[in-house]
């Protein structure tokens, strides 16, 4: 019985994980958790077994994400760091483009991809699209070798947090375009770390639910990165709300 609940919970959580990023606008207005969550909470408060199972399932979920973000040392040994990075991106259901190529390699909806990328030996990646994937701080290990990476999209990544942004300094000499919009975990404390990316030309910080007073933060960001064009949409609602509060 309890196992059933835990698997139910896990399914719902996994769904929620990816959905959370897409539903940012609505997330602020959600106040009451859905029925199954409340039911689970009720049960955990009464039964130790349920609590234990839930804890276990949360741990398993985290471990699963960590596993997906493991370092591709084996691939690197055989094919070099560029192909290892590419393989990692595709396995995470992202996409990338090699330097000097026009074609993108991308995983499809079901995670299948074209293995031809193995033929490009020693070609660094120039553009990487990790949007809506579960990449985290650990997974970044696979990309740090890409010193000609110009564009990185992390749109809607639920596991990208401030520590992740803090580590983007490894691309300080190459990165020109960065998209971190719709990342639920990013806060102002992490945005401050972007100061290390002095070569940045374009930055998308739209719809970050974690930053308070976005208006001010964006002005400060513009001051901090004077040569960078900053896109910030999806905050009208918040701004209006603040105005209303002031009045």
């Amino acid at each position: 019985m309890a196992a059933l609940f835990s698997s139910l919970h896990r399914c719902c959580q996994r769904l929620a994980l990816l959905r959370v990023a897409r539903q940012l606008s609505s997330s602020s207005s959600v106040s009451r958790p859905p029925l199954h969550r409340r039911l689970l909470r009720f049960l955990t408060q009464r039964f130790y077994d349920v609590e234990e199972l839930l804890e276990w399932s949360v741990r398993m979920k985290k471990e699963g994400i960590q596993k997906k973000n493991a370092y591709y040392g084996f691939t690197e040994q055989f094919y070099g760091s560029d192909i290892a990075a590419g393989h990692f991106v595709l396995n995470m259901r992202g996409g990338f483009r090699y330097t000097g190529q026009t074609d993108w390699f991308r995983a499809n909806q079901r995670g299948k991809f074209n293995w031809d990328f193995l033929t490009y030996k020693d070609t660094p990646l120039e553009e990487v699209d990790m949007s809506y994937t579960v990449i985290n701080y650990r997974g970044l290990d696979n990309l740090v070798g890409q010193q000609s990476l110009k564009t990185l999209s992390l749109r809607g990544c639920p596991e990208v947090d401030d520590w992740f942004l803090g580590r983007l300094h490894v691309f300080q000499n190459c990165l020109e375009e960065l998209d971190i919009s719709h990342c639920p975990q990013i806060t102002t404390g992490g945005l401050a770390a972007l100061r290390n990316l002095k070569g940045l030309r374009r930055l998308d910080v739209s719809s970050l639910p974690g930053i308070s007073c976005p208006g001010l933060v964006i002005i400060l960001l513009e001051e901090m990165l004077p040569h960078c064009q900053i896109t910030a949409t999806g905050y009208d609602h918040n701004l209006k709300q603040q105005d209303a509060e002031k009045m």
């Binding site: 609590e51 102002t188 404390g189 002095k198 400060l220 901090m224």
Partner: protein
């Protein structure tokens, strides 16, 4: 009517001693009259009172009956529920961030669930004088001693995964409000070589630090006056500042959820035995073994001795008071027991200033070779600044009053020199806190005192205890439960250096 029914149910449910049937019989008789009294509404309040009384009395009766049963904890004397238990395995004195971190790690590392009974004794539930909550909250890797660098790296890793470590099921995740803004150290000509050496040590241990020439510094931080700067080092990763309260509470919440007992009271005395041993050089050593800890309850004469196997001294700035109670520092001249614990409170001022033209989001924690530091506080153009006074001008530590002249004389001039924008600023607030200052070498003391066989120390961190707390807690737990350090070797921070009077100094540029 519903009130009646509820009462009925309550009585039926009540388990235990009173024969429930008889009670219900007693209670059912007024039922017949109920319709009557409802029509004659005057009778109602009275009846309500009667029922309430009855309910209360029944509850009291049941309780008394249950108490009288053998096996209950009832006694004819009233007992203060806040008293600590009479026995525990480990008593941690001091509920600051170090104390709670140790408590958490002890529970995390225990092999059998509920294997060790840990209590944390804190004298001040408001933490009005604790260093933890009065600190500036910075974390850096830019130290010179490998141990300190490793402690910072380990603590940063802990904070990165804080919700894996300190998350509690069904509670909000911990948000440390970490600002990844880095530390920027500025060195003059005279000390630039030290900075370079430190940089090498830091990089070799895996810290991400970069050296900047004055030109590069000007390019990266245009608002800094680089006139007398020869070299700068800037931390790229894992450096910045966070909210100390959040870290303290997160440790506390998790530790309590794992079964650590929290207790408010002051440790005022120990009961201990002394074993006299003769050392190889003919010296007689009195080895103390603590048997129990006397915990004085706040605002009362009541106290409770707690028998315990191990005591942890995490009392921060006031940890030397605890060793005094054990006769350390007042032994015969020249003996080991004559050497006091070299930790004392030193007052440090922190000033909050408002400066609309300041460096903004760009501002790291800047540390100048003149001794001043500042960092951003929030987003509204506020900054926190301060400096350490020279040894001869240490302020009086009897209270936590702020000396505003110190800012005018010592902090502001250097601050405005370094960042010209700070010429126009307004002091909007200030506070003072105690460093747990190690007078020997300003580094932590971790380990067992040679003359106190069962007291473990984690104190004397002098201005970097907060950032090292996660790793220090783990180290002390290892020392207690495993018998030695297993992850980070912190032997060097032990008592040997103190008895030999061989300071292990940080080679700082300040």
């Amino acid at each position: 009517m519903s009130a009646w029914r509820r009462l009925h149910v309550v009585v039926w449910k009540a388990p235990g001693l009173l024969a429930s049937r008889r009670v219900t019989e007693q209670l059912t008789w007024p039922r017949g009259h109920l319709a009557l009294c409802q029509s004659l509404s005057t009778g109602r309040p009275l009846r309500n009172d009667f029922i309430k009384d009855l309910e209360a009395q029944l509850a009291a009766m049941r309780k008394k009956a249950a108490d009288a049963l053998p096996g209950s904890s009832w006694s004819p004397f009233e007992i203060n529920p806040n008293l600590p238990p009479e026995r525990a395995d480990i008593v941690i004195v001091g509920g600051g961030v170090i104390g709670w971190s140790i408590a958490y790690w002890l529970k995390e590392k225990e092999r059998v669930p509920k294997g060790v009974k840990v209590i944390v004794v804190e004298k001040d539930p408001t933490y009005s004088k604790a260093s933890t909550v009065l600190s500036v909250g910075g974390i850096r890797q830019q130290f010179s001693l490998p141990e300190n660098i490793q402690l910072s790296l380990a603590s940063a890793q802990f904070m990165r995964n804080i919700n894996v470590h300190l998350g509690v099921l069904n509670e909000d995740p911990v948000d440390l409000q970490f600002n990844h803004s880095g530390y920027l150290f500025l060195a003059s000509e005279d000390v630039a070589h030290i900075m370079e050496e430190n940089y090498k040590t830091q990089s070799s241990l895996g810290a991400k630090v970069s050296l900047l020439s004055p030109a590069q510094l000007k390019e990266k931080f245009p608002w800094v006056n680089t006139d007398d700067v020869a070299l700068a080092s800037y931390g790229l990763e894992n450096e910045g500042w966070f909210d100390p309260w959040t870290l303290l509470n997160a440790f506390k919440r998790k530790a309590i959820s794992m079964g650590v007992i929290q207790c408010f009271g002051e440790v005022t005395d120990f009961k201990y035995t002394v074993n006299v041993l003769k050392s190889p050089d003919g010296e007689f050593l009195g080895c103390r073994r603590i048997k129990s800890v006397k915990v004085q309850m706040p605002n009362s004469l009541e106290y409770q001795p707690v028998q315990c196997a191990i005591v942890v001294n995490a009392a921060g700035a006031f940890s030397a008071k605890l060793t005094e109670m054990l006769g350390i520092g007042s032994g015969p001249k020249g003996s080991i027991s004559d050497i006091p614990l070299p930790v004392e409170p030193r007052k440090r001022f922190v000033y909050v200033v408002h400066c609309p033209d300041g460096p903004g989001l760009d501002s790291p924690m800047l540390i100048d070779y003149s001794g001043i530091y500042f960092r951003r506080e929030g987003l509204g153009g506020n900054y926190i600044a301060g400096a350490s006074p020279v040894e001869a001008e240490e302020p009086d530590t009897s209270n936590l009053e702020v000396d505003h002249q110190f800012f005018e004389d010592k902090v502001w001039p250097s601050l405005a020199h370094r960042v010209p924008a700070f010429e126009n600023l307004k002091v909007t607030g200030a506070w003072a806190g105690y460093y747990d200052y190690n007078t020997l070498d300003q580094n932590g003391i971790i380990g067992v005192h040679p003359l106190i066989t069962n007291m473990y120390f984690a104190t004397g961190f002098s201005g970097h205890g907060l950032q090292h707390s996660p790793a220090v807690g783990r180290a002390v737990a290892e020392l207690i439960l495993d018998g030695n350090f297993t992850t980070l070797d912190l032997q060097e921070f032990g008592f040997t250096r103190i008895l030999d009077k061989e300071p292990m100094l940080e080679r700082n540029i300040v």
